[in-house]
Symmetry: C2
Subunit: 400 residues, 2 copies
């Protein structure tokens, strides 16, 4: 285990009817005389009534707020820049994000960009420089997936350059996050599945590590994965299954608040490779991960069969084969079968990517997004991947 420091001061407000507390919580955390930005996506929170109850709750507490909707999946830099201007003009000192991971990520990027001393927001993402200050963000979660509700991370797409970059700063952990599983009842099957795929990937990115002696976090990762795998299919049968949503909602948050990644090198290659797919093809992140992850596992298998065999046994209960390699392959098959059961695509074609014509371009972008000198910065740590490796993985992802 490696040394670590951990500080996760998000107030986690979990359970039925908890969104009713949003007015009280914003008033308490934003303070008197604050102007709040209410940030959201499209019409779903208007249809569901969550928009109205939130606005009423804020008004009841006398909270002054401005609004910015319009966040789309794979949230865009342009809207972030618009939000920054709006917040500066209105003197916003607190942001309430009501939505899924895209809304929360967009809110965090705005929060990071308001203080001009932090410099240009996209340059912050590219350089990964730390923030001097950030406006506090709070959330009401409507889709468990990205774990952004308790993470310091955000991912933004710059349409102009076609780059999709992640960024993290501890100042961006939400001050409070309301997670009410009832708010997930209206999600369609594809969003349920994409969310589940994303949270599983957050665990994989931590689990597949070369750091020795991480029994405790290995065990936590495996146990959360098993909980997800056991409960997620129940949601396709009945999207109003509160108990299953509670398990998935809890899992999605701990999957990415980094408890499960403490003291260990993390990977993040699958996220990096998927970002290039969704940056170009605008597919759902979780769907892209379901395609890339088994291909990545097949690619690293020859060198990494022991850990993949552990995964197969401890997560999917695969019986040990004659060799680790055999067990590992059975685990990859089990994961692919799980994705299919969830209705997720597992090949590039199912994802809507007809051919390999842009694999080279995506692979180059995956390793050059932050390069200053044109030299490739490899993706991943479990196995470092250069553009040639990534093309090979994209090709493996053309078939199950």
């Amino acid at each position: 285990m490696e040394n670590f420091t951990y500080f996760c001061p998000t107030h986690w407000i979990f359970g039925r009817d908890t969104q009713a507390r949003v007015g009280e919580l914003v008033a308490r955390f934003a303070g008197k005389n604050a102007t709040v930005l209410l940030h959201f996506g499209g019409n779903s929170i208007k249809r569901s009534g969550l928009y109205d109850t939130t606005v009423s709750a804020l008004r009841e507490r006398g909270v002054r707020f401005v609004e910015l909707g319009g966040v789309v999946p794979n949230p865009r830099l342009n809207l972030v820049r618009e939000g920054i201007r709006l917040c500066r003009d209105a003197g916003v000192s607190f942001i309430l994000a009501v939505g899924g991971g895209s809304v929360i990520d967009s809110a965090k990027a705005i929060a990071a960009g308001i203080d001009a001393d932090n410099g240009d927001i996209w340059e912050t993402f590219v350089s990964r420089r730390p923030l001097k200050t950030a406006v506090p963000v709070a959330t009401v979660l409507t889709l468990p997936a990205t774990g952004s509700e308790m993470s310091p991370n955000t991912v933004i797409t710059d349409e102009a350059s076609g780059y999709k970059l992640g960024y993290g700063d501890e100042k961006l952990r939400p001050v409070f996050s309301i997670v009410n599983p009832e708010l997930f009842f209206t999600l369609p099957p594809d969003q349920i599945a994409n969310g589940v795929s994303d949270m599983m990937s957050h665990i994989f990115e931590r689990y597949f590590s070369n750091t020795p002696h991480c029994d405790i976090t290995d065990g936590l990762c495996e146990s959360v994965l098993r909980t997800i795998i056991r409960n997620a299919p129940c949601l396709l049968e009945n999207p109003e299954n509160y108990d299953a949503w509670a398990e998935i909602g809890f899992a999605g948050t701990v999957a990415h608040n980094n408890l499960l990644g403490l003291g260990r090198e993390q990977d993040w290659a699958c996220h990096g490779m998927e970002h290039e797919i969704s940056a170009i093809y605008d597919v759902a992140h979780g769907a892209g991960l379901a395609v890339v992850t088994p291909a990545w596992m097949k690619f690293v298998l020859p060198e990494k069969s022991a850990k993949l065999a552990q995964f197969a046994k401890n997560v999917f209960g695969v019986p040990a084969g004659t060799t680790d390699s055999e067990t590992a392959q059975a685990g990859i098959n089990a994961l692919t079968a799980f994705y299919k059961k969830m209705g997720l695509p597992t090949t590039m074609r199912e994802l809507g990517i007809p051919d390999a014509s842009r694999f080279e371009e995506m692979a180059k972008k995956a390793v050059l997004g932050r390069s200053r000198d044109g030299n490739e910065i490899p993706q991943g740590n479990f196995r470092k991947l250069f553009s040639g490796d990534i093309v090979a993985i994209y090709n493996l992802a053309q078939h199950d």
Copy 2:
């Protein structure tokens, strides 16, 4: 799963050499011009050099401090009262506890008692009334066991009345906790074993719950228990095994920061029954728990065989028997065998309690400690225990 709120803002500083940061951290969190109480136990931190390095680190940073040593296992109300007087006289506004759980618990009780508006400290414990304010506490941990380094809880013994009571208030979660597994290398085998028993019990108290649909926390509990069971025996073989200590140190903290207990009814009967044993016989808490826990499991087995069978299978890998009851009994046997392997007592006699002469008295105290009207307040929730039940459990604990 039940609704919950969770807020755990302790800065967790984990790993080799991290105690070197104590000066910097105290200066940062206590603020300028603060007077700090350095609270500790006996001579072990003086022998190990930790006392000297701490004092030097504080002086280097210009931190003004007063000292109070002398905390003993099962920390005493008298010393807490002395600490409160000392802190009021010296204007202490920050407490640094350097030691194990007893030192940290003593520090928390002092922190809770300094503000006269909180009222008498023992009355606070008896009534469980919330604190108006508390002086911030920080810790350098020397013994992983109680989880006090990231919990809001403290347990104090009043020698005069013979009562040992727990108390919790979120204001008592340490602001930072330094956990360096190297500091555990000098612990003797009995302290290792007692610590392991205590952290396991913190998980049991949460795991044995009647709340349905807690897959996620059940899984987290089981995985942390497996990590402890796998790694603890390595420490008896080699108390300087850093890797095993890192697993145990991490486990001890998450066992009691309440992540594993979120959204579920908790039990705490074994802790309550043990407190009465150690309040009278002054035995080590972890040793008392190793005696009481299997007896409690045997007592609740007829009604609770399903959960005990789950425990047996998922924690000890016991193969399913013909009935849950059979599987459950095999799990209790496996737990008892584990305690024995760790050198822990598993009977009252091995604990140094020669006969049943005070069982009745202890059982009464266990249910009357907070009673205002002489009516018994039962211990536990998984199965509510009145004094008669507790006597039965103490009697069961006379034999394996």
